[in-house]
Each structure stands twice: as structure tokens, then as C-alpha cells.
Amino acid sequence: MVKFEIHDLNIWFGSVHAIKHINMEIQSNEILSVIGPANSGKTTFLRMLNRLNDLNQNFKMNGEVRLDNEDIKNIDMELLRKRVGMVFALPLPLPLSIFDNVVYGLRMHGIKNKKVLEERAEESLKEAYLWEEVKDRLSESAFKLSGGQQQRLCIARTLAVEPEVILFDEPCSGLDPISTAKVEDAMVKLKEKYTLVLVTNNVKQAARVGDRTAFFLSGELIELDKTDKIFTAPQDKRTDGYIRGKFG
């Protein structure tokens, strides 16, 4: 099933043409990795999917983006962001307890019932592979967790509002290899229920977790194919050059 449909998407920031004529689809329950050098537009692309770019006053876009066959411009912005959650590069726990962090989004959406909150918190923490490590200290400050745990806490916080799609913006850039492996395990497990879009600077990570991989360069989509194919037999020379580390 198609989750996101993107037709002739263009994005400008002031006079900078950041995304150029992109056409693509994102399938349900897949992990789509987006790779590309700096300034290739991959983060802009990601932040377009939950309309976070709209915070920038110089932002302009045309083209059509459909989520479940509905134009995202017609979806209420708060509802869209609830359906399309996001995990950022740096773990960003709030200065609250672990439990309060996880249910923060739920409370914001007006859920007050303690039982519901507790159930959702446990469920999300389990899905984010963090439950076993924190179940006995939910009332401790989130800052006491390690970097990798904090990132999984942020994943749990995103999961708690029950999104359909989760966007990952270089989620492991600040983590050590072991924490990275845990976050990647969580991601692979999550695609059973959710659609995942992963922007990463780590080409090997894209190869490890992505079902399909998109290669962006200077705002253009150069190639999009099954991850195996991108990494073994890329159609475009520039893709080949980038994954072999010849530029970027």
C-alpha cells in the first residue's frame, strides 16, 4: 500500500531551490532510507512530510504530497504531526521524569486518565526497546539516562501519540555503536506497525536497516530502489560514487 505519494515537489528557502521536481512514493510498513551528502535536501524532504518546514518564514513549496491519498495541505497541521511523528538527531528529553516524558504528547492531546497514560507509556517503552531498562525507575529524571537510552525515550515519546509514520532525522549521529545497534533493532521491529523514513549520513546504516534507499544530490532524487540494488548495482554513476565514499 502507498503511504505517501509525492508529485513534482519543489521547495525553496528564499531564493535557494532546495528540492527540485521530486516524484516518488513511500510504501506502508517499509523503512525508506534517504542518503546523500550535506545540502542535498534530504532533511528538508523529511521535514516536509510533517510540515515542520512551515516554521521557516522563507519556506515556499509547490507540487503535491498525499498521505493516504489525502493532500497534506488539507490535513489539520496538529493532526498531521500526530500521524507523522519525528525523532531528531539529538535526543531531546524534557527536564521531567521518564514517565512524564513519554506521556508528554498524550497529555498535550488532552488525555488525562492515569490508567490510559500508564498503559500507553508501558506499550511505547516496550516498542522502543527501553522498558526493561527503565521499568523500575520511571519517576527518575530523564537526564539520568545514557545518550542511547535518551534517544529510545524520544522514540517512545513519539510512539505514545500513536503515529502512522515515523520520521528519523539522523537518529544515531550522536550515539556509540552499541547504542546505535539498539536503536536500529528498534527500528526494524517498528516497521511491522509503522512506516519509517530514515535520513542518515551513515551509508552503512542505510544498507543495514533500509528496505529501499533513496539517494539525493543537490535537491534532486537521483535514484530510488531496493536497498540491495542500490548498494550492489546502482544505475547512476553518482550513486555509485557516493556509496563508495568518492565524494560527499
Binding site: L80, Y104, T158
Partner: protein, 288 residues
């Protein structure tokens, strides 16, 4: 040769640095020396809590409680008016206003800060005072309320610009994180931005209050200057600052009255010092 130059420049800068501390120390010592002399004739308790201020009657009655209460009443009134408006204005400028309105508002706020207090006092006297008088049907419009409103205007630029800075310095990632969870703009401001900027906003409020409590000219012109304990905000009051400004010229040097005015100066000094230290500690907390 170069080393000598280096040495001289270094020492010159050292002297500049020490000079400011030296002057503060001198002022403080002078204030103490002149002010403490009053306690030879009045006890500290009677001075601070005495209910009447008749410095030139025989024997002089030097109780500054009415003056302290006058200052407090006006400050609290000004704070109640200026904090919500000032913080609201800062939120609007930092978060909501489109670029053009933002620039205009900021220029306006800076202009407000540039108006000399005597001009504000003058404007207040001819516009605000009659308004208050007619509105509440009072014998005179020279009241604590008029002073509070006027001083609220003077505290606003300080509160707005520092609170706005505090809101700007909240990391962008906080805001994006809240939005990404599906928060509305107001939820983001109320639950994420304001708590994150709270220490800076508190510092802004404290500095605004510091400005109000030290203000002299405008309050002297529009509060009626009656040194009696005020029972409502619609009564005339006199502040600590206005008392010094109004009476210093006529007090005989070396008299009890003269020393008492210096002692009022000490009280003011202690109050503003306490406010500044509190504001500073909030600002430092924010930087950590």
C-alpha cells in the same frame, strides 16, 4: 620595548577595572557614614516602622514606614500592570509577530525606553491624572494608581527586551520537538517555551521592578507626595526616592533630617541591591 608597552596597557586596563569598584565602595562608605549617624537619635526599629514622617517638627519624627509602603504600593501596582503586558508583548514579538510588525514593535519599545522620565511624568500629569480623577470621582488624581500606571510604562521596555531575549535563546530544537508531537502553537509557547525561558523572564521582571523602585522624577510629579500610610491605591502616596529628591535641598547639612535622608538612601540601596542580586542569580541559572 614591546614588553614595556604590554605592561603599561595591562596596568591601565587594571586601573580602569579597579576604578569602578573603587567608586562603588566610596559611594557606599559615604552613604553609610552619613546615614548611620541618624541612629544616634532614632532606633533602627523606630526609623523603619515609625508611622509618621515629620522631619522638621520639634522634636523631629523620623518614621519612614509611610514612605516604604508608598514605594511598595506603587511598585506592586506597576508590576501587576507591566508584567502581564510586558511578557505578553515579548511572546508576541519573539513568537507570533510577522517580521515587519516585529521590527516596528521593537523600535517602538526602544523609543519608549528613550523617553526621559520627567517627560513621562509631565505627560502623565496632564493626561493620566485628570483621567484617574474623573474616572473614580476623586478629590485629586495625584494617586498611587496614577504612579503605578506611569511606572508600568517605564518598566515595560526592560521587561519586554530581556524576556524576548530569553525566549529567543530557547533552543530551536525544543520548539520543533513540541511541534513534531502535534502541539499547537499556543501549547508550544505555554508548555515548552515559557518554562524553558522562565529564569530569563524572572530576571526580566526583577530588573523591571528594580527600575520602578529607583524611579524618582515621574513619581514625584504624579503621586501627590503625601507622606501618610496609604489605605487604598487611590490615595496619594510618597515614595522613598521622591522624599530624598524633594527634601535634600532644604535639609540643613549635618542635621538629623539630613542624616535621615541618607539613611533612606541606604534603605533604597539595600532594596535595589537585593533585587539585582536576585535577577542576576536567575540569569546565571539560565546560562548554566
Amino acid at each position: 620595548m614591546r614588553k614595556l608597552k604590554e605592561f603599561i596597557v595591562e596596568k591601565l586596563i587594571l586601573i580602569c577595572g579597579l576604578a569602578s569598584i573603587f567608586f562603588v565602595a566610596l559611594i557606599f562608605l559615604f552613604l553609610l557614614k552619613e546615614g548611620l549617624a541618624v541612629f544616634k537619635t532614632v532606633s533602627l526599629f523606630k526609623f523603619l516602622f515609625g508611622k509618621s514622617w515629620y522631619p522638621i517638627s520639634e522634636p523631629a519624627q523620623l518614621g519612614i514606614l509611610p514612605l516604604i509602603l508608598g514605594s511598595l504600593l506603587i511598585t506592586v501596582g506597576a508590576a501587576i500592570i507591566s508584567i502581564p503586558i510586558g511578557v505578553g508583548c515579548a511572546i508576541y514579538i519573539a513568537e507570533i509577530a510577522p517580521l515587519k510588525i516585529k521590527e516596528t514593535l521593537k523600535a517602538g519599545i526602544e523609543l519608549l525606553a528613550a523617553i526621559p522620565s520627567v517627560v513621562l511624568g509631565f505627560i502623565g500629569m496632564v493626561t493620566l491624572v485628570p483621567l484617574v480623577k474623573n474616572l473614580f470621582n476623586l478629590p485629586t488624581g495625584l494617586t498611587a494608581l496614577s504612579g503605578s500606571i506611569m511606572l508600568a510604562f517605564m518598566a515595560m521596555p526592560t521587561i519586554v527586551s530581556i524576556a524576548e531575549d530569553a525566549l529567543y535563546s530557547v533552543p530551536k530544537t525544543y520548539k520543533e520537538g513540541a511541534f513534531a508531537l502535534g502541539a499547537t502553537h499556543w501549547q508550544t509557547i505555554w508548555r515548552v517555551m515559557l518554562p524553558a525561558a522562565s529564569s530569563g523572564i524572572l530576571a526580566a521582571v526583577m530588573l523591571g521592578i528594580g527600575r520602578v523602585i529607583g524611579e524618582t522624577m515621574a513619581v514625584m510629579m504624579i503621586t501627590g507626595n503625601a507622606a501618610v500610610i496609604p489605605h487604598t491605591i487611590l490615595a496619594p502616596v510618597r515614595t522613598l526616592t521622591a522624599t530624598i529628591a524633594a527634601e535634600m535641598g532644604e535639609a540643613v547639612v549635618g542635621s538629623e533630617h539630613y542624616f535621615a535622608l541618607f539613611a533612606i538612601g541606604i534603605v533604597l540601596f539595600v532594596i535595589s541591591f537585593a533585587i539585582n542580586v536576585t535577577a542576576d542569580s536567575f540569569l546565571h541559572k539560565r546560562q548554566q
